[in-house]
């Protein structure tokens, strides 16, 4: 390989490195610029009333979805990797794998068709329950993956010692794995919360179906509002950049908590 090509690759690698590193900062700068641009071009600006209820809906949905999705994902990962072996474990892993490849639009369709009965399509309780269930299914595989990594991070010596003392799989799980990874498991809940907050695709499909039956837009989640405004307005409403920054801020905060708890675990 000639010196010329080597230098060219090094220059390209450094450039790409800067580009990848700057993605979140550039996104933030674009939001600030978009807010200034929208304020100049639009006289009317009503931000607070709608967004407060939408933020509450977003946090509520993410909390419910995290409680359900992360608990099921964590439990499934521990069961299929620690409590059971052989064919049974492989079957459960296969199902978790299948859920991981199901696109969010398919889960959204499933939500409209099965989780939200047509008779109750405009009732807030039913709609929020259906959206929370759809988001829970969407984030379940992420909880599964992070848990597998958290369990793998437990020192093998501890498990060997438990086995040497005669502990069976249930005892090893209840006395070594769960107590040993409790901090990481709490971090996984925070990580899943950070992923549930901005979930837009599946949630927006169910919200749009409900809106057709009379469900109010003020009870949408922030991400669904962003998608709705982006596709219907084709211009920047001043509230849109603020909604995006709010969503990003909430997600990053949850991620910071998760990063502190989980530590060096791989993120993606």
């Amino acid at each position: 390989m000639s010196q010329y090509w080597e230098r060219l690759f090094v220059a390209l690698a450094r450039l790409c490195s800067w580009v990848v590193a700057s993605v979140p900062i550039i996104a933030l700068l674009i939001f600030i610029a978009a807010f200034i641009y929208a304020r100049r071009s639009t006289a009317a600006f009503e931000f607070v009333p709608g967004v407060i209820s939408q933020t509450a809906v977003t946090i509520f949905l993410a909390a419910i979805a995290t409680g359900a999705g992360a608990t099921i994902g964590i439990g499934c990962a521990i069961f299929s990797h620690e409590l059971t072996r052989g064919r049974f474990g492989r079957i459960i892993r296969l199902h978790a794998k299948f859920l991981a490849v199901v696109p969010a639009v398919v889960i959204g369709w499933f939500g409209v068709t099965i989780l939200l009965p047509e008779l109750h399509a405009a009732q807030p309780g039913w709609v929020l329950a259906a959206v929370a269930a759809a988001i829970a299914i969407t984030v379940l595989p992420d909880a599964y993956i992070l848990t597998v990594r958290a369990v793998r991070a437990i020192p093998g010596e501890l498990l060997e010692a438990a086995a040497a003392l005669g502990a069976n799989a249930t005892q090893a799980t209840s006395q070594v794995i769960l107590p040993g990874s409790i901090s990481r498991l709490i971090g996984i809940y925070a990580a899943i919360f950070s992923r549930a907050l901005p979930e837009a695709t599946a949630a927006s499909i169910i919200f749009f179906a409900a809106a057709g039956a009379g469900y109010p837009v003020s009870h949408f989640s922030l991400s669904a509002v962003l998608l709705a405004q982006g596709t219907s307005l084709r211009l920047i409403d001043p509230s849109m950049p603020l909604v995006a920054v709010l969503l990003l801020g909430l997600s990053v905060t949850a991620r910071v908590v998760a990063a502190r708890r989980i530590g060096e675990l791989e993120w993606v």
């Binding site: 590193a21 674009i30 939001f31 439990g75 859920l99 499933f110």
Partner: protein, 273 residues
């Protein structure tokens, strides 16, 4: 030194045992039920219209939508793979990256956590401010922005998993870092890297939010995930949408299976561990 009696089991231990015997098996059962339920509903609702969506024109048919999805992948995937590989290489060896890795290492976890709807909104705002039209090309830009940090992080993990001794031996014999990367490390990690790219193709095919915001929804020739998103809220189209969902799922499964066959990317490998 005297012998001490073993400490009594704490309440916590009893709670952990209860958790291990009830909630954890129940979670596994629920996962299986959800996966089987989803597959069964899709099959029952969608199989009758499967042929219809294959032969019909857009928007009921999937032909144009698949073509759009493939065009998106053809534009976005090579750029994502090349930029991500270069950035990962700069992090892998400080002699390649210089001072850039210090910044990238700190920001990569945050760049990989950028939500799709936020990435899409950023592209949307930029295009509106610049007065540019939304199109399939701008949707590809959205996919590139969203996926490059994730692919970079996975490629870095693959490169870091290679035995360091080979790297050090080649460097000690006078080989430059780029030579070591391409002639020593890359041949050993090629399958894993291609698996990673294939896994990214599966994810990009199924992503909708970023494409909707960055590329718009036109009702005709939208990528398949966007077409389903557009018509899924309409209950009267439930069967046709189910058939389209089956096609999308098969499309994504093909890439996921290629990834697994090549050695399993991040998600799949983590699940198999």
């Amino acid at each position: 030194m005297g012998l001490s009696a073993p400490a009594p089991a704490s309440r916590n231990t009893a709670a952990w045992v209860l958790l291990s015997r009830t909630l954890i098996p129940l979670s596994a059962l629920l996962t299986v039920v959800i996966a089987l339920g989803l597959a069964a509903v899709l099959a029952v609702r969608g199989w009758q219209d499967l042929w219809f969506v294959i032969v019909s024109p857009s928007p009921q048919g999937v032909g144009g939508a698949i073509l759009s999805s493939l065009v998106l992948l053809t534009v976005a995937l090579p750029i994502v793979a090349i930029v991500a590989f270069c950035a990962a290489a700069s992090l892998w060896d400080a002699r390649i990256g210089g001072s850039a890795p210090k910044i990238l290492r700190g920001w990569l976890p945050w760049a990989t956590g950028l939500p799709p709807v936020i990435a899409g909104a950023a592209i949307f705002f930029l295009l509106v401010m610049l007065g540019l039209r939304l199109s399939l090309f701008t949707a590809a830009v959205g996919l590139i922005v969203l996926n490059t940090p994730i692919v970079c992080a996975r490629m870095l993990r693959i490169l870091l998993m290679l035995p360091r001794t080979l790297h050090e031996a080649a460097s000690a014999s006078g080989a430059g870092p780029v030579f070591v990367l391409f002639r020593v490390s890359l041949p050993r990690a090629a399958r894993e890297l291609f698996a990673n790219v294939s896994q990214s193709a599966a994810e990009m095919t199924s992503q909708a939010a970023v494409i909707i915001l960055a590329g718009g929804v036109w009702g005709k020739m939208d990528p398949l995930a966007v077409q389903i998103w557009h018509f899924a809220p309409d209950r009267s189209l439930a069967r046709v949408e189910a058939a389209q969902c089956i096609v999308l799922l098969l499309f994504v499964l093909v890439f996921a299976l290629i990834a697994e066959g090549l050695g399993g990317g991040g998600k799949e490998r983590a699940m198999d561990a």
